[in-house]
């Protein structure tokens, strides 16, 4: 086994037919496949074997995809420390990889692999069988060499699921190919974000905007002075949800149980001490702190989140899509919470708002993200296809 795969499927045969029959898709071990070691990269689930197929797995198989195995992942998919996400695609071992996106992981993994990465709208894909950490923010993302494949995969896995009632009761989206008319498409960019970039990054981003302008798109400023609040809200709400979500890893029903405890309370404490790595531990501590000691801060964060959602809706009344720079950080193996959040500074906002976000490498020389309103996924992917097409024509 190489450094990319944690588990290889010995029978990866795809289906006879279906929209994805040519595709090899890699998963991370936080997506349940019956009989596979779905450890979610955590010692809390060491030795755990999934009992059920996640809905996405079931749908990928029905669409004819072949599932090649589990790649190495960060603990519970939080950040990319120690993760090989994107590597299978970069090395062309797989055509695509599902990477659960809670801070921006699928997009950042794509950036690292020089591929495209897409986080769909929240509520579009069933979370049944996904071993999550931040329920209101996370969503399976798709890393792939091209946007057309992302669209085919999304079309196969999206839609209502009777196993996940948390999906909003909404009409299924229409993913049929469509033409984008640049003249009728307004792209906004947030000047407050450009200021935070290094000189070199600024240049790359400005040349990407220039490329889009040349492509005929209307490009305008969209002011978002509160952008720094997204990360703050994510940190508070995300950590509180993570603390609750990880409450089940108590060593009573499964997971490693520490020996030598004198009572159940000690058993909890000692077992949880060996279950989690230090980054996740500090995140859980932070969440427990807000739960138990600063509930009002959590309450405020939820309110601010609602306000930010409204602000974003307002921006989208002026611009169809927003063009967002990618993260400035280079150190993907962040060890502290600070570093981890800094790494996803330009990405986590889409997890706070549940918007779809597409990362594309080398648009006019640099990687950018484009985000649209919730449920604009088909339009956003069509836009991505047309931009990449123009890019290839232009090069």
């Amino acid at each position: 086994m190489d450094s990319v795969f944690f588990y290889r499927n010995s029978k990866p045969a795809g289906g006879e037919d279906g929209a994805l029959q040519e595709l090899k898709i890699a998963l991370q071990p936080n997506v349940s496949v019956t009989g596979w070691p779905a450890t979610a990269g955590s010692n809390a689930l060491a030795g755990f074997t999934a009992l059920q197929d996640a809905t996405v797995v079931d749908r990928l198989r029905r669409a004819g995809a072949s599932l090649c195995g589990y790649t190495v992942m960060s603990e519970f998919g939080f950040g990319l420390g120690g993760s090989s996400a994107g590597e299978a695609v970069r090395r062309k071992i797989a055509d695509a990889e599902l990477v659960v996106d809670m801070l921006g992981e699928s997009r950042l993994a794509a950036a690292r692999a020089d591929a495209c990465g897409f986080k769909p709208s929240y509520g579009l894909i069933s979370r049944f069988g996904i071993i999550g950490l931040i329920p209101s923010m996370e969503c399976p993302g798709i890393v792939s060499g091209n946007v057309r494949q992302i669209r085919a995969i999304l079309e196969a896995v999206a839609g209502p699921d009777e196993l996940d009632f948390s999906l909003p009761d909404e009409e299924p989206l229409d993913f049929s190919p469509q033409e984008i008319d640049p003249q009728k498409t307004t792209l906004g960019f947030v000047p407050e974000l450009v200021g935070g970039l290094s000189g070199q990054q600024q240049n790359k981003f400005m040349s990407a905007l220039e490329f889009l302008r040349k492509g005929g798109f209307k490009v305008r400023e969209s002011r978002l002075p509160d952008f720094s609040r997204f990360a703050l809200v994510h940190r508070i709400v995300g950590s509180v949800e993570a603390s609750s979500c990880a409450g089940r890893y108590d060593s009573v029903r499964y997971g490693p149980r520490a020996v030598g405890a004198k009572n159940w309370n000690e058993m909890y404490i000692l077992s949880r001490a060996i279950a989690f790595g230090s980054l996740v531990k500090s995140y859980l501590f932070q969440g427990a702190f807000f739960q138990f000691e600063r509930y009002e801060a959590y309450d405020n964060a939820c309110r601010i989140r609602a306000g930010l959602l409204a602000e974003m809706r307002q921006l989208h009344s002026e611009a169809d899509f927003l063009v967002i720079p990618t993260a400035p950080g280079e150190n993907l193996d962040a060890v502290s919470l600070e570093e981890t959040y800094r790494m996803f500074d330009f990405m986590a906002f889409a997890n706070v708002t549940g918007q779809p976000a597409l990362y594309m490498p080398s648009v006019g020389g640099g990687g950018i993200q484009i985000v649209g309103p919730r449920r604009s996924d088909p339009d956003l992917l069509a836009l991505g296809e047309s931009i990449l097409h123009a890019g290839r024509g232009g090069n």
Partner: protein, 483 residues
């Protein structure tokens, strides 16, 4: 100083749904340990809770039956605490947006005055697992049974409107009747489908202060709730008289010693909105549909019984106190039994017999149809009351129609005047002293003579006719002149 008590109740009712609240596991906590479990109620990684529509419906019916106002928006929260009976570190409960607000029940206080006892709100929550603590040799071990984990519950939180143990007990009895009518639960404290915690504080009589309360748990009958409250009022009064402060804490009722004892404080965690279980939005139409599903409730039924059948208020209230009993009564009338005899035979004969056999009216062999057939024979004087009682006992043991039992076992009443006249003559002849007593004016002697005739008929003689014949013979004295 004279004190008055301020009491509020928190009542957990286990809904009688077929499945648990968030998965399809059977809702049968009493089965072999840990058989009714699945990845969802054991909260395996990747599990997604799915709120059962039956739980929502039954909870809503219960709320409506208690006069609550169903909220158009309600939601689940996570009550966070760590305990081995909780498989995910939090309990799904509605802390911020409950299913229903308001409501209440009218009861009679000790002086028969009507008191409206208000409900603050009713919310849904999931039950937790059951812990069993044992010794394995010298090692204490704790076993966890997850059959109950995720069972559907509602919690009814009252206003602190109660002033006495009597009011609390009356409230619980009335609540039980309402919930049974709604078909949502059996509400048996003995079986654990209803659990009651009481919050009790005291204050100088006539004042409006809300003082530090003490919570009392672990009562497993309505009577125990009354006893525990009474004990707690006395205990707190004594301690205040002695100049001690009441401290906020929880106590357990000890049913053997009939005292409350302090228990170790349980850690109460925060409640944060659950991000997974969807917001519950109830439309006006849905709420009306639920309201239409409620049966005629006990108070309405009782007044109809007075109106329609001419029962007394007490009789009507008694019959209406149990939906099965009221239904049985109406079925009897529907099968042509007269109101008075139906009421009388149901309450004085059938119910005690059912109880003796530890059966329920709804699941014994004596159906309204069979019981009615028996009572109709009695009304037509085809059998007498003695025979009816005998036949009733046999109805419990088999499925034969009562007519067949009467025919095959010779219970048919003897109403042939000639046959009865000769029996009467014989008894008059054989009991001269009783006859003499009667003639001296001792009316008791008539009863004795009727008994003798009944005895000689093997219990089958028509008692009305015997009485007539005896009186006629004794008054005329003609046939016995020689004695």
């Amino acid at each position: 100083m004279e004190f008055e008590a301020v009491i509020g109740l928190e009542i957990h009712v286990e809904l009688n749904c077929a499945t648990k609240m968030f998965c399809d596991c059977p809702n049968r906590p009493g089965d072999e340990p840990n058989v009714n479990t699945c990845p969802t109620c054991l909260w395996f990684p990747g599990a997604v809770p799915r709120l059962s529509s039956e739980a929502l419906e039954k909870a809503s019916l219960l709320c409506l039956a208690l006069g609550g106002e169903l909220q158009s928006r309600s939601a689940f929260d996570q009550k966070v605490y760590y305990y081995p009976d909780l498989p995910k570190g939090y309990q799904l409960s509605q802390a911020h947006l409950p299913l229903s607000r308001g409501g209440g029940i009218e009861v009679r206080d000790e002086k028969e005055r009507i008191r409206k006892l208000r409900i603050h709100h009713i919310h849904m929550e999931e039950d937790v697992a059951k812990l069993v603590h044992e010794m394995e040799g010298r090692t204490p071990i704790s076993l966890v049974d997850f059959n109950r984990a995720g069972a559907p519950l509602v919690e009814i939180v009252t206003e602190p409107d109660f002033r006495s143990p009597h009011e609390a007990m009356e409230f619980l009895k009335a609540l039980r009747v309402q919930v049974r009518y709604a078909g949502a639960s059996e509400c048996s404290m003995e079986n654990g489908t209803m659990r009651v915690d009481a919050n009790i504080s005291i204050r100088p009589a006539g004042t409006t202060a809300m003082n530090t309360k003490v919570e009392v748990k672990n009562m497993n009958s309505i009577r125990h709730v009354g006893d525990a409250i009474a004990y707690e009022i006395a205990r707190q009064s004594a301690s205040v008289q002695a100049g001690e402060d009441v401290v906020l804490h929880t106590r357990l009722w000890d049913p053997d010693r009939k005292v409350t004892l302090p228990m170790r404080a349980k850690f109460e965690g925060p409640c944060i909105p659950d991000p997974v279980v969807p917001l519950i939005e109830l439309s006006e139409e849905w709420i009306e549909e639920m309201r239409a599903r409620l049966p005629e409730m006990p108070a309405a039924r009782a007044s109809r019984f007075v109106e329609q059948y001419g029962l007394s208020g007490d009789e009507a209230a008694y019959l209406s106190s149990d939906p099965d009993l009221a239904g049985f009564f109406e079925a009897l009338i529907g099968h042509g039994v007269a109101v008075r005899s139906g009421m009388h035979w149901l309450t004085t004969q059938l119910l005690p017999a059912v109880r003796d056999r530890q059966l329920a009216l709804s699941n014994c062999r004596v159906t309204p149809e069979r019981f009615a057939a028996l009572l109709r024979m009695l009304e037509k004087e085809e059998i007498n009351a003695n025979a009816a009682r005998e036949v009733l006992l046999q109805l419990f043991d088999g499925d034969a129609p009562p007519e067949e039992i009467v025919a095959s076992r010779g219970f048919r009443q003897i109403s042939d005047p000639t046959a009865l006249a000769s029996m009467v003559d014989k008894v008059i002849e054989d009991n001269p002293s009783a006859v003499a007593d009667y003639r001296r004016g001792e009316s008791k002697a008539l009863g004795f003579l009727i008994g003798r005739v009944m005895q000689s008929s093997g219990g089958k003689a028509n008692p009305k006719m015997i009485r007539g014949l005896l009186v006629k013979n004794l008054e005329s004295g003609s046939r016995t002149a020689g004695a």
